[in-house]
Symmetry: C2
């Protein structure tokens, strides 16, 4: 992987920063956040501005360019990758390390007095704007909204915003009609005396209307906004997408069942002026709900006295707790996904010794096998198919120039998932097709202990996921090891593979309590830079637990693994496992064999079935 040459681009950007065509005065620094106007994690090519200017294409990162410096903040998953993709014009700011300054502190340390720091107000979230604004103001600088995006100004061949075909989902997939979701939303609004709700997150809008798109690779969403009042629904989307009669029927555009369920449609771009019009007509007590992570531009349209910012919207919370139909769909999707992976691993076992399997061909094979499964739509994120040292690059994606051959001498880590119409998957397995070293096995076993500690944990109702994070690390910590990423994220149902508001991370304190029906990943890891990477990831469902006692009638919860793919016994040092942990592995493998075995048999995939049976032998 060779770095992007950015000297000329940065020169042009710095010229734009001084050009009064964009802002009345020159600006001394320009912030380029990840994300789009919807604060999406995965973004369409037209929104990949931070990648365009720096070369770094990880899913998280913020670039700041000043007259003298260009710096990139990203987290532990991307340290190696960012270093490889960026040229010497860029300084990598390793977030999470003690010595790394925050963006604010760094700006204050490098800027001349009374500087102006610019940012595109559509791309920065309102809460981030607020923090940055405060910090800069208190140091005598100012944060200014530059309406024209300065990266776009130096990006002549920037792609167009996508507008893919929409797909409507019936009750057999969603469990709840969009009309009922609107009614539930309004009940929550009226409970909190809220008159308007502005939805800006793409997955929330897709979930609300039981619609899916393909505007962003891997994420079945589409560019839209929605504003819901107590009697009106305004839907902002490229209107061409609503011409199909089935779509008009789904949304009841031509014959709404009730007036308050009538959807008014508007062009995507008109959300700003429509929200302005709504706000101009607000009564003195009217309150508007908007997520504090929505864009600064849209948030500031709402007068402060009427604005009621919330860390998570009712749609985000509603979407996170899966209903019985969604849970059933997720289970089915995971069984199909396990079938494909069992086939993949059986195939790898056979092919690797021949020396003709690479990171890319293994990833392609995984995709091919998944695509044979019913209702397959696409991948849920770029497959991380990584051999040996590449495994330590946490979000590695094989490219032709980095592509490495799988051998019997190195650890192989594959983190992959798919979108099926009934659910979304995300699974990581780490395997060795020869003989792993004692150290590799030791690390794998600590990671496994952490995975089990979370998966088998019983905890009271109302517990937030971040309180479980240390369980995943205890065994690693005891040996002086650790990993620099969170342990789990929420997973959507045929939606984004990363979603809020729950998760398992030492970093997240604003997470919502776990409750039955939520679905998260459990994915501790260990990364030995330059040598190997280990990660073990299952998607797990929060379910009620029934321990011996029930303190204060609070009830207890635990996790049920939805992912049912064997964990390689060859990588375990079973002597380091407790009896309880061995029992967990055996019970998990029994379930894989029973459930996935039946499906493999039904699909007549004999080789994979034999592999599954071999890989799920009892350990003692």
């Amino acid at each position: 992987m060779s770095p992007k040459i950015t000297g000329e681009l940065l020169r042009q950007l710095r010229q734009a920063m001084k050009n009064c065509k964009y802002f009345s005065e020159p600006i001394q620094a320009y912030i380029i956040p990840s994300g789009d106007a919807h604060q999406s994690e995965y973004i369409a090519p037209c929104d990949c501005r931070r990648e365009f200017i720096s070369g770094f294409d990880g899913s998280a990162g913020t670039a700041i360019v000043t007259e003298q410096h260009a710096a990139m903040w990203t987290d532990g998953r991307y340290f190696l990758q960012a270093n490889q993709q960026m040229d010497n014009n860029w300084t990598l700011m390793k977030m999470g390390l003690k010595e790394t300054p925050s963006q604010e502190d760094w700006l204050i340390s490098v800027l001349p007095e009374n500087s102006k720091v610019g940012v595109d107000p559509w791309i920065i979230a309102a809460d981030q704007w607020k923090n940055m604004f405060k910090a800069l103001s208190s140091a005598g600088h100012s944060l200014v909204a530059v309406q024209d995006n300065l990266i776009d100004a130096v990006w002549p061949d920037r792609p167009e915003r996508p507008s893919t075909q929409l797909r409507s989902l019936g009750l057999d997939f969603t469990g709840i009609s969009w009309q009922d979701k609107i009614t539930t939303l309004r009940a929550k609004m009226s409970e909190r005396k809220i008159t308007w709700f502005v939805a800006t997150a793409l997955d929330e809008i897709a979930w609300l209307f039981n619609l899916r798109g393909a505007d962003i690779e891997y994420n079945p969403v589409f560019f839209a906004y929605t504003i819901v009042g107590m009697n009106t629904i305004r839907f902002f989307v490229d209107l061409k997408r609503l011409s199909d009669p089935a779509m008009r029927e789904h949304l009841q555009l031509d014959s709404p069942s009730k007036p308050e369920l009538s959807i008014q449609t508007f062009p995507y771009e008109s959300v700003y002026t429509e929200l302005q019009a709504i706000c101009a007509a607000l009564g003195p007590k009217d309150k508007v709900w908007i997520c504090d992570k929505a864009s600064c531009a849209l948030t500031q349209v709402i007068p402060k006295t009427h604005r009621s910012p919330i860390p998570y919207t009712p749609l985000c919370l509603g979407k996170a707790v899966k209903n019985a139909t969604e849970i059933q769909g997720m289970k089915m999707a995971h069984i199909k996904d396990a079938v494909a992976l069992c086939e993949l691993f059986a195939w790898l076992e056979k092919e690797i010794p021949n020396g003709n399997v690479t990171e890319i061909s293994a990833a392609d094979k995984a995709e091919e096998l998944r695509s044979q499964q019913k209702d397959f739509v696409g991948l849920s994120f770029p497959t991380i198919s990584s051999v040996g040292p590449h495994g330590a690059i946490i979000h590695y994606r094989p490219l032709p120039e980095t592509n490495r051959t799988l051998t019997v001498n190195e650890v192989y880590l594959i983190d992959s998932g798919a979108q099926y119409v009934d659910g979304t998957t995300d699974v990581t397995r780490t395997m060795h097709f020869g003989t792993p070293s004692a150290f590799e096995k030791e690390c794998f076993t600590y990671v496994l202990k952490g995975h089990i500690a979370v998966s088998a944990a019983i905890f009271p109702n109302g517990t937030k996921g971040h309180l479980l994070d240390s369980f995943a690390r205890a065994a690693l910590w005891e040996s002086g090891l650790d990993y620099l990423h969170g342990t789990g994220h929420g997973v959507g149902c045929f939606l984004n593979v990363h979603e809020g508001p729950c998760g398992i991370s030492y970093k997240t304190f604003a997470d919502e309590p776990l409750e039955a029906g939520m679905i998260v990943s459990d994915e501790p890891g260990y990364y030995e830079d330059g040598s190997f990477g280990i990660r073990l990831e299952n998607v797990v469902l929060v379910v009620p637990a029934k321990p011996k006692y029930n303190y204060r009638n609070r009830g207890s919860l635990t996790f049920e693994p939805l992912t049912l793919v064997p964990i390689q016994v060859k990588m375990m040092n079973t002597e380091l496992l407790t009896q309880k942990e061995r029992d967990w592995v055996n019970e998990y493998h029994r379930k894989c064999r029973e459930v996935v075995g039946a499906e493999l048999e039904r699909q007549g995939r004999q080789e994979a079935l034999e592999w599954l049976i071999r890989e799920t032998q009892l350990i003692i």
Copy 2:
């Protein structure tokens, strides 16, 4: 315990709330926080306003009185106690339970439109003022500062503010002179370009000047303020206290070694006007550090553009990391404290069967035995001496009307500690002097497992204490049990028994990372309402650990118990312990026997020594 009758008092307070002598307009609600103008946790009798108005005397709680309602917010430690101490005029708001509204939400739900909510600005911390102000404003109400305290207005025989004799500590106890502490403070100020620092926390001021007082029971502090500039030190204290020649010598009041170490003294009350004078003379770039937990009254003296609020002051952080002299002192104090407790338990074992030991007499005996130890100053908090159901009242304090006799049929919980000139102790043991039930043993063993899980944890440098909290709960959670308090707090060295900025709690996210030299408590518990309470508390020192690996050279930490008092084996169900846990107990008891045994022998306390030897037999 009979509740305080508060009908007439509340009537008077409500009259005062309408009296324009105190505020230009009637106020519809009045907030009575715990604490004094220094935001102390333990307070002098003259500051016990929340107790005076409600009867509830726990260490944490906020009362709010409106025209119709009187409500008290407190946490899980005090639910039972508050219910017993308050009459029917009061509603208990159980913090930490999902259904309990926040103070802000409750006020908004009960207040008529455009209400005024009053509070004494000296008693409310700046950060609490800010949150409350925001919440009330956004609901159309206002928070107003009522300069005269309205409780004082209805409290005719309110005690005077104490002014006890000051004690200076030499280098043999403190390890660092106050002059060096000032120099370190100024270095930190200059590093962050701060020109003034306002110290308001009493323990920080005591620590800074190596002085102790006795103004507040249990806490060796004295009422004072300090303002430190780069060249001046202003000390606000009752000037009578500085007349003693040794004191003047300690503070170098008459012949400062250097001009910048010359202390200017002022009366305690003049801090407000002096700070006003300082602020009037600030240059445009001057910044003033003040803790965001300092009083709203003092904070608001500093113009916002010059104010630099910090969650923890450099004194708080400096005080938390004990130096070698302080660590040595804390170790000595804990050995002496263990001697007293071994004697107590030996005596209890002998006396309880005679039926003449009560909660109060056991607590008195503990105090008497502690007072025989060298450099004993007093208790560090009111002894919690509780039998059977009283043990479930987390911060129970025996009173003549509740006093219960210790028997061989009930669990006994004693949580106690002392101030010695060389250190502060805080220890809880739970014992049975007959035959505990299987359930009592089971719960005790889960609590012990939690205690060990924290005490033996190895974790990376830079880890915050809240990440360890769940370790203390895992065994309880697995059986559906829990406890509604944090797991540990910082402990001062001959200072407050509760101190920041570190701790171990699911509630604290703003805690500072643990580092070697910090001292915290490790005290999980289990409380069966109406039946028994269990808590196991050691004070532990953060020390470097040397595990097998050292990921990214971060280094690791663990805890070393300073408390060395046997944990009753009779209460354990050793079958529920893992081999590692049994090894931990045996090693801990070996150390108790070796270290405390030697001291018991030196002091010739034979009976206690025999008890110690009996109680520290190996478990298998």
